[in-house]
Symmetry: C2
Subunit: 507 residues, 2 copies
């Protein structure tokens, strides 16, 4: 066996964060690049994370009356054009279907596109316009409202510089779409869904998030208001983890979602849309990963525990495996969070590489079981949130009875760490020089490292926003809900400002 390096991942986070990210994904077996530009292959260990996210959100959505449905992959170009800001927002990144068959052409090798469509079809980048068309048929009267729909789907937004999970041309997501009789109800729904995203992020993914509202220039194309959750990654950059949009009557007008009110007048519905995507898996990696690979929070992990039988003498095989199997059965009888405890058993005879593989895959608990442990009715337990060689001996019964506690400790430890990290790297800055220094890398060796998040005053002008973006590649992540109104002066122009906003570099 090759001697294990000090860390399992090369380079480390400090050495080269972007490259560390790529290497962690490779080492964890979560996903890989595909031969199709910008598209990824999500491997079983990564897809299980997405399945768990689906399960959690389905339960949370359902409790608020949302039902799942499915709408077409293709959107006629004329539909996309119905909302002017919307089509402008997506025109630069559309996959366009123009033909519906392939044929042989004389003198040419291979097949060429044939059967040109009268109207090009766009592979959905998002589905407001096609779902709006259905809503317009489903609504006659106020009695038909609200309509509360969610769809699990793939969407395509052409990416020139793709990055697995964070920015891919095709990604998986859920998109919720609702229509309401009143503005107040639609706004309430927009907030409600943001709260669900916060719950998903903090309670399941152990990613602390700041909730807030986007500045006008960062809104979803066509929205009246975009709410978001923003998290800090370990390179101190922000990752937008989910958005919830209040669309006003813009899309209702574009799609003609008209209804008869209780007063027998006609009115346009008020709509919302909201989504999270496989990008969240990128967020998981960058929030919790260390220099040995990913660390999966137990509530979302593909499996909770791996049993690693240690059989040096073939004579021990039978008794060790019997012990392992009965332990597996017992552990599987317990639940954690919203599902049964998932146990992997790895019997491969590949030496220490086996242990390191599970570390790199981020499984919360590794349990080694050899003849000596069995003799004492004990097992040897490694927690992924501790150092790789920091393992403790536990009585078998103790492991079984305390497994939920152990997993809870890991879950809250991960959340606590991430919260401390964010607090440590979030500062109030009130003068321009400090602000510019904060976002300027402080050494040539570590060009990616900068200060983190600032809470600074902003006058509200797009001019200041774009100057900061141009000078520093720093954007307003959100106008945070937690911030109290407070008089001050804009960090850029010095004009009066009523509140602080969050500035950061972002993915």
């Amino acid at each position: 066996m090759k001697k294990q390096e000090k860390t399992a991942i090369t380079p480390t986070r400090v050495e080269d964060y972007p490259e560390w990210y790529q290497q962690v994904i490779k080492a964890s077996d979560l996903a890989e690049r595909s031969p199709v530009r910008g598209c990824m292959v999500i491997k079983p260990w990564g897809y299980a994370l997405w399945e768990n996210i689906m399960k959690i959100l389905n339960d949370l959505f359902k409790a608020t009356g949302v039902k799942n449905a499915y709408f077409p992959l293709f959107i006629p170009l004329s539909f996309l054009e119905k909302e002017a800001e919307h089509v402008e927002g997506f025109a630069k990144e559309c996959a366009v279907v123009t033909h519906h068959r392939l044929e042989q052409v004389a003198g040419k090798k291979g097949l060429v596109p044939a059967g040109r469509l009268n109207e090009p079809l766009i592979v959905r980048p998002t589905s407001e316009t096609i779902i709006g068309d259905s809503f317009s048929k489903w609504v006659d009267s106020y009695r038909d409202l609200p309509i509360l729909i969610n769809q699990w789907a793939n969407v395509v937004r052409w990416e020139m510089r793709p990055r697995i999970f964070l920015r891919t041309s095709e990604f998986l997501w859920q998109e919720g779409h609702t229509a309401h009789a009143t503005k107040a109800e639609a706004i309430e729904r927009t907030n409600m869904m943001l709260d669900i995203y916060k719950t998903l992020s903090e309670e399941y993914l152990a990613i602390p998030v700041i909730t807030g509202r986007k500045s006008p220039s960062e809104r979803f194309p066509g929205a009246v208001d975009t709410l978001c959750i923003e998290a800090m990654m370990q390179d101190r950059k922000a990752l937008q983890c989910g958005t919830s949009h209040f669309l006003g009557q813009n899309f209702a007008k574009a799609s003609n979602i008209l209804f008869q009110t209780a007063q027998e007048t006609e009115a346009y519905a008020w709509t919302t849309s909201w989504g999270v995507s496989t990008r969240l898996i990128g967020g998981l990696i960058m929030t919790h990963g260390d220099d040995d690979g990913i660390i999966l929070p137990p509530k979302i992990s593909s499996a909770h525990v791996v049993l690693l039988p240690i059989i040096r003498n073939p004579d021990d095989k039978h008794s060790v495996m019997e012990y392992v199997k009965s332990l597996e059965r017992e552990l599987k009888e317990h639940s954690y969070g919203n599902r049964r405890i998932e146990v992997e058993v790895d019997t491969r005879d590949i030496g220490g590489a086996r242990n390191w593989e599970w570390i790199k895959k981020g499984i919360p608990l590794r349990v080694e079981i050899g003849p000596k442990d069995i003799a004492q009715n004990a097992v040897y337990v490694g927690r992924r949130d501790k150092r790789p060689n920091e393992k403790i001996s536990m009585k078998r019964n103790q492991l079984v009875s305390e497994i939920q506690d152990l997993l809870d400790q890991i879950q809250s430890n991960l959340f606590g760490r991430a919260m401390s990290f964010r607090k440590e790297h979030t500062v109030n800055i009130d003068d321009q020089k400090t602000f510019y220094d904060f976002f300027t890398p402080n050494s040539i060796e570590k060009p990616e490292i900068h200060g983190g998040f600032t809470q600074s005053h902003w006058c509200g002008s797009e001019k200041c926003e774009s100057k900061i973006k141009e000078d520093l590649s720093v954007t307003i992540r959100c106008l945070p809900f937690m911030a109290e109104p407070e008089a001050g002066r804009c960090i850029c122009c010095g004009e009066p400002s009523q509140r602080k906003v969050i500035f950061a570099k972002a993915y």
Copy 2:
């Protein structure tokens, strides 16, 4: 309220089967056409059926070691061309992406496709070639085999004559793909997955199926052997409900899935693929539906029971609703099949239309609850597999304690009916004249009605197969596994034949 017709669906099955099918879908709120040619909108009541199918299959797949993953939506044209028969099979029905953005052109209204791709991308009609590419990277040695992967995805096969659920340009499906070190193991897997499809169809969907093998001309493009399950619809036509393909080494050669054997030689893997789609929902409708709408088998139904409070006097409202809510809670504590009992409560004040809506939606049990029933601690129960007005009074406790029994009775009644129907319309035919008469509509008024399935001898020649197809639009559905070898003479040419096959008209 409009007086209810004798049947809720017009036309009836006998009057016009294809139109009955469209009307049943409309009345049941399962799905609707979309403005995108050939694509459907699957509404919540229909999508829940698909979610239940996903849940059932995920459990069955997982028990055999299959894991879920996700692969790109797009397939480069050159990949599709790697297997000659394969590309030929799909070339006529491909959605082709040729551009990656939209732009304004001087003098033209609206946007036009721009950013032409160097190589066209095909929206996946199936994923053998793109998944094969991943497999080729995942396999080095025989120790890496088998690979057992499934993906839940949307696929596109351009349809000129679309029909909701049965033939749509976009549909949802699962596609399993496996790679093995030996031919025998791949064949075993092909059979194993067909068995799972039979279990899904018969035990959950209550659709009896014939298992068998396709004739060479009906094989999946590129397959060595295609196994299938075939069901009889109520117009006596066949519906292919699922297929499992043994691909030999064809796709392994095309995708270069090479591995080192235990003997240290190099060999191509043996692969399989297998799938079922939203077409199954069309099968459900056509197997069980009657002239009042669909009938959902309890094991797959979106919900099991609807509670219909009857409140003629507003003073009764509080007590009736209390009673209904407590009954709802009690019922939900029970499970049926692999999930909790799902209860709908419909409090709308729309008269008899409410009852008929649930009949048309096919919910297994309707429970009416009024003050008089409550006084006797009783409820009034209608089973969807009985006549609409054949309702019985039951004690409330009896309903709660016997709900699983009731659902089981409905489930097996539906299966039994469908099995009887198939048996009734499946005959052995040994002479050509009887065969031709059997498939010729017997009256001008009912041009769709013909005999059903025949078990007849076939010599094995493609010539006879295509003559019958041309003359009668009848195809060989399968060479059934249940048929014993038996000497006879081909129904078409009279030459010797070793076995009977199933002939039928088909969807």
